[in-house]
Amino acid sequence: MCYAGKDNCIEFSEGINVIIGDNGYGKSKLYDAFYWVMYDQVFVPEKKAFQSTKIVKSKLISDKAKAQADSGRVTASVKITFHNVERDNMYILERRYSVSIEPGNILEDNDAEFTIMEKELSYLNARMVTDEDKKRSILNSILPSQIKDYLWFQGEQVESIIDFNKQDTLTKAVNVLSNIARYDAMIDIAKAAAKTATTEYDREVKRMSKDSVKSAQLEAHKSDLERKIQNGTIEQQEINNNLSRAESRCEELLNKQADAQKVSVLQERKRGLLNQLTLLNQSLKTEQVSFHRKMFRNKWVLKGTEDLQKQYAKKFSDYEQRKLALEAEEKVKREIEEEVSSNLQTRLPINVPEPNYIEWMLEKERCLVCDREAKKNTEAWLKIKELLDRPKDKKKGTKDAAAVSQDFSDDLKRLYQNGLSLSNRITDIDDDINETLQSRNDLQGKVREANREIETVDSDIQKLLADTLLTSEQAENILNEYSIQNQKAKDFKEDLNRVTQEIEHYEELLKGVNDQFKDLVTGELPVWLIEKREVTKDFEVISKSTRERVFNSLIAQLEQEANVHYQAMTSGNKSARGKIKLRKLPNGNYMPEIIDSNGNPLLGLNTSNLILVKLSAIMAIISAKGNSGEVYTLITDAPTSVFGEDYTLGFCKTISKVYRQSIIMSKEFYKNQGLRNELLTNPEIEIGKVYTITPSIFENERTDRSNLSTKIEALN
């Protein structure tokens, strides 16, 4: 794979050994190397599964090694030396896989070779172990299969090792790592003994019966009741399992529900803010439109026209004065005309005699007033004609005729008056504009504020969703599922009550039947038989209660141990809270939960907390095993990748206390130099060997792997 050449040798010592490298640097391949030697399998990321050598074949071999070999055999080999320093013996495990390279062709072997060499003392020569049973025994002593999951794991597997969805994982772990199986076997023995004794007793009772027909009837009834009790017990167990599942799911959902509720509340708040923002934007838009309308409606356009009004007033005044002057001039002119006119004819009023008489007199050349002759063009005739040519009598009002050809006085006056009334408002325009601008600014401020709040709420939601690994939709679903599971749990409880009552009723009936059986007995039943029945019954009861007591004690021990690790791992981290409680479920299994100082379950725990609870439980299991004198090496790839850097040091401190030797692959120490220094110098961490690994070609530049190798450097 990415390790090429013969110099890839890493030595580990007691304490915590750390391989530091960024993503894509080859940490997981190193973990794979361990796994391959032990189990002939490697993890194939594309398949997300472990696959055997038979399937992976030549991919096991470094591309660089394959590229550099023109022909001949190329081998991938991993050798692990386990040295028991107390006994000073050694096991050297080696797995090799080879291919034959021909020009343009690779011939793959089907299988890998696996050898175990044994040194009884480190300074003696190694002997190959050929016996397959012994090989298996050695492998099992290095890593017992039943605890393998708790010792060799990858970060992502922590979730499944202690799976909160499978309530019996903790129980299984306790079963595997303790002697509780012996107590289970004792219960089976006690049950078998009690059954034998009861059968023997019943047979004797039947034999001594005075009424065989009645006995037969009672026996049939008894069998029927026993069958019903047995069925009821099975049903009761099933309901208990269902109830446990529903309760644990509720518990799990309740934990998430708190987050989901927080998300829901935040989303509701976001919706409210969005509505508020829509309204504010509408108001702002209306205000914007209104702002333009106010240019005319509120006469803002007049702003700055004060001088125009003054200029207009002056012009209007000039116009009026000029007009008055013209009118005065006209009046004088008219008066002169009138005077002239009155001078022209003073004896006769105007139109007297009427013009037709005058025209007739001119024609007749005779004055009909004085009845004298007036020859044409004589003085008299001309006087008469003068009467005809007199200026017409000016109608009344003529004297008020306009002095100018177009009189705009009224219009100009209206304009002046309008202007005057508007000019009074110009002084208020600034205040009006200021008020409007202020109102618009307020609205804009509110919009900005709403946007800011939405951003904050969004960020809170995203943070919450990231912490809880929930999507927004999942958060909604959780609330729905919680109510469904809660209802289920209630229904199961009702079912359980019903079935329990039925069983009690049948047991009561069975007791009655047994009494009736006894009543039919003639003579005395053997004392030893009665005693045998009672003793075996008591043995059955005691075997069950002892098993429960021992198991509860193991759980209490596990809980105490897990809390020690949990507190150690979370020390100095402000977000960690509460303590671990292993809660008993109706079906007898246990579920880890975190409680506060009053014993109430803490809700809304983040993912890191839950992972830490699981790791604490794993460590408790291992340390409990360690107390029995068995010591194993922890090998884990990226165990801290599932929780934040804050916990990394706490994890290392605890690891170095729980495991005599551990090998962890980590990227946290690659990125954070301060953390790396702390790892190397913190006296609370029993440090082993620390290495960095660096690929010759970085992952994002790795188009061609034919020159890919990995450099290993020791830091201490």
Binding site: R182, D188, A192, V527, W528, T536, D538, I542
Partner: protein
């Protein structure tokens, strides 16, 4: 786990005292190899012995039966 340790865990059961199989002061004194007058304790010892020795369930059950068949 030794036979004695295994046996002791059963002796801690309250039912033994409740039903008069054992008195409180005797619990700590009793050892696996010590004979008792209690049939129940003898039955437990047979089961513990067989279990630790790796006997099968039927073998142990038969031994228990035989021990209780004796009229005494």
């Amino acid at each position: 786990m030794t036979k004695d340790e295994f046996y002791k865990t059963y002796l801690e059961d309250p039912l033994l005292i409740e039903k008069g199989y054992l008195t409180l002061d005797k619990i700590n004194e009793l050892k696996f190899h010590q004979a008792t007058n209690s049939k129940l304790l003898e039955v437990i010892k047979i089961a513990v012995n067989g279990s630790i020795d790796g006997d099968g369930e039927s073998v142990i059950t038969r031994k228990i039966n035989q021990s209780l068949n004796k009229e005494s």
